[in-house]
């Protein structure tokens, strides 16, 4: 018993130390630097300022943020549109086939996402698989521009993040009591009504969890717009990287990172708030 406790305590201490040293401290350093003056030789100077935070809101920088948000919102909506029917199907299919289908969702993601992105390039390029097929079948006269357009970016983002939407949705839909659906039908609801008034409200926690899990990482996946979209617009990820490396403006880059963290934290807060309300409404 005593020994067990000792193990527990060491495990927790090691974990906490790890998190403290390698997560909390670096992040605190970023926060501190974001309030310091830029210095061309030493990266930053010990002079407090909030100018970097004010600069974040000038039109160009604000545009970088809104642009990234647009991509992320679009990706979230698309993954929801693709993931929801799939998760529904997965939760209704026979119990024995489910593990296999879940595996099929997960296994591709054991390969590095960078490699899978390059594979998408091979599919979508002008002399690639899709275009050769279209031309051979006579559906297009010449190669259609897919690669280096917004279409390619959304395909890449949705593809990379789809499991994060499917899995939480599946978890919720699987637990959905089918007697509720039968009851709704008995009471004369059409299929659409059953979906809109029973299934959808009850799966809301999954929708929220999935959306958050897609939205947050999509802000950081800047290499997908770079590789598939041709890097023609600047997103938050590249923006921060450029501040640190190209212009040597560490404080400004730090301020942008801190702002990004704040945006994400406030979204999580909204999520928790909504969930609290939801739980109260389901279980009065």
């Amino acid at each position: 018993m005593n020994e067990n406790k000792g193990f527990k305590n060491t495990a927790i201490t090691v974990n906490m130390l790890w998190i403290f040293l390698f997560v909390l401290v670096p992040n605190l350093i970023v926060v501190v630097i974001s309030f310091l003056e830029r210095d061309p030789v030493g990266f930053f100077r010990w002079e407090p300022t909030i100018s970097h935070y004010i600069n974040l809101f000038d039109p160009v920088n604000a545009r970088v943020f809104t642009h990234s948000l647009t991509y992320s919102f679009g990706t979230t909506l698309l993954t929801l549109a693709v993931g929801y029917p799939f998760a529904w199907f997965l939760s209704r299919v026979g119990r024995r086939r489910r593990p296999l289908m879940l595996m099929m969702v997960i296994v591709p993601f054991w390969t590095s996402s960078l490699i899978r992105t390059y594979a998408l390039v091979i599919l979508m390029k002008a002399n690639g698989v899709i275009n050769s097929l279209l031309v051979t079948l006579g559906l297009a006269k010449g190669p259609v521009s897919i690669l280096y357009t917004d279409v390619a970016v959304y395909v890449g983002l949705v593809y990379s993040l789809l499991p994060f939407m499917i899995l939480p949705l599946y978890a919720v839909l699987e637990k959905l009591d089918s007697r509720l659906l039968e009851a709704a039908c008995d009471l004369g609801a059409t299929h659409l009504q059953v979906f809109a008034r029973v299934v959808l409200p009850l799966s809301l926690p999954g929708v929220m969890a999935g959306s958050i899990m897609v939205f947050l990482p999509s802000m950081g996946l800047f290499y997908i717009p770079d590789l598939l979209g041709g890097a023609k617009s600047m997103l938050v990820g590249n923006f921060i990287k450029n501040q640190f490396l190209t212009s040597g403006n560490w404080p400004f880059g730090s301020a942008a990172s801190v702002f990004l963290i704040l945006v994400m934290v406030s979204m999580m807060a909204v999520y928790l708030l909504v969930m609290k309300r939801f739980n109260r409404s389901v279980m009065p």
Partner: protein, 343 residues
């Protein structure tokens, strides 16, 4: 007791051997030096090479700077980073009298404005950034000047390097300015020109500008000569052209950080790299021209006569080497953000 002593001795032996064995800490670009060169150096000199790599000048600079140049003995920055690091006092002077193979270097690449008299840097390999086009879609006479990139028939068909200095460099050249201009008004003019070029640009390529050309998404653009060489081997329709205003040239050099611990070994390493046989090995591996004139004479005629790798001296004369622009980089970065956000 005795057993313990023996055990401790055995354990300490390798450590002692390691401590006694001189070593040199080399920090280089990824895939920029064949292993054969490193092992040949260790065999000849007995100096152990500790090798690590980086992906960009910027990350190398940040690292060397944070440790104040301690911990690395030989680093390979590009032209304008040599200039920048030299200006900031991060580099140790190189004693040319210790370099017996200095005579093999190409005088064309020595004593350049970024490091007069090569006091701090020894050229390693060099190359250029110029025009690329696909001869199936673009006629050679349509690609002779940087201004040809603005041709309306190339709408949505260009690949540009995802590098603000190079892209705005083209904008500066077509307006008659230097690629190293620091005047904010000139940079703005360059930005205006590049903004007009945007409808033609299909892709900014950060990793490999040859890809969009090979997959036919782009029919022309700017490219590094090594990339163009590799692309042409795959698809002979892809050509490389030096624009008549002059190409952008760069040299990657070997430098010794100011606080390097093994300066003696670093000099021996640099001298070893300057051996013509080694320079030849390296060139065959990396695909860029060595800064070593004697090594060139050892090469195959086909390679030696390829203007893509070895341009005519008059072409080099017309071109420009990138220099550090100091604080003006902030102006460049600002316009780069505006270019990409469309404001």
């Amino acid at each position: 007791m005795k057993k313990w002593m023996i055990l401790i001795c055995i354990l300490l032996l390798p450590a002692a051997a390691l401590a006694a064995k001189p070593s040199v800490y080399v920090y280089n670009w990824t895939e920029y030096m064949p292993d054969a060169v490193l092992s040949a150096f260790q065999k000849e000199t007995g100096i152990k090479v500790v090798y690590s790599t980086y992906e960009s000048n910027e990350s190398m600079y940040a690292k060397v700077k944070l440790v104040r140049g301690k911990g690395y003995d030989v680093v390979f920055p590009s032209t304008y980073f040599v200039h920048k690091m030299r200006n900031q006092g991060l580099l140790a002077p190189i004693d040319q009298s210790k370099l017996t193979n200095f005579k093999h270097l190409d005088p064309m690449l020595l004593d350049k404005p970024y490091d007069p008299d090569n006091r701090y840097s020894i050229p390693y390999v060099w190359g250029s950034t110029a025009l690329a086009y696909n001869a199936d879609h673009v006629k050679p006479e349509q690609m002779i000047s940087w201004k040809d990139l603005w041709r309306p028939e190339l709408k949505n068909r260009l690949v540009m390097n995802d590098d603000l200095r190079e892209v705005f460099g083209v904008g500066l050249i077509v307006n008659g300015y230097s690629v190293n201009d620091t005047d904010p008004d000139h940079i703005r003019t360059a930005f205006e020109s590049v903004k007009e070029l945007m409808p033609n640009i299909r892709v900014f390529s950060g990793d490999s500008p040859k890809q969009p050309l090979l997959n036919l998404e782009a029919h022309g653009g700017m490219i590094w000569n090594g990339e163009a060489y590799m692309a042409a081997e795959e698809d002979p329709a892809i050509r490389y052209a030096y624009p008549r205003e002059g190409a952008i040239f760069w040299v990657d050099s070997m430098v010794i950080p100011k606080n390097a611990k093994n300066k003696e070994a670093a000099h021996r390493f640099i001298d070893f790299i300057l051996k013509p046989e080694m320079a030849k090995l390296i060139c065959e591996y990396v695909g860029y021209a060595p800064a070593n004139r004697t090594a060139v004479s050892l090469m195959d005629k086909a390679l030696k006569d390829n203007p893509m790798i070895f341009p005519d001296p008059s072409v080099v004369e017309k071109g420009e080497f990138q220099m550090d622009v100091g604080e003006a980089i902030l102006v460049y970065e600002r316009y780069w953000e505006r270019l990409k956000t469309g404001l």
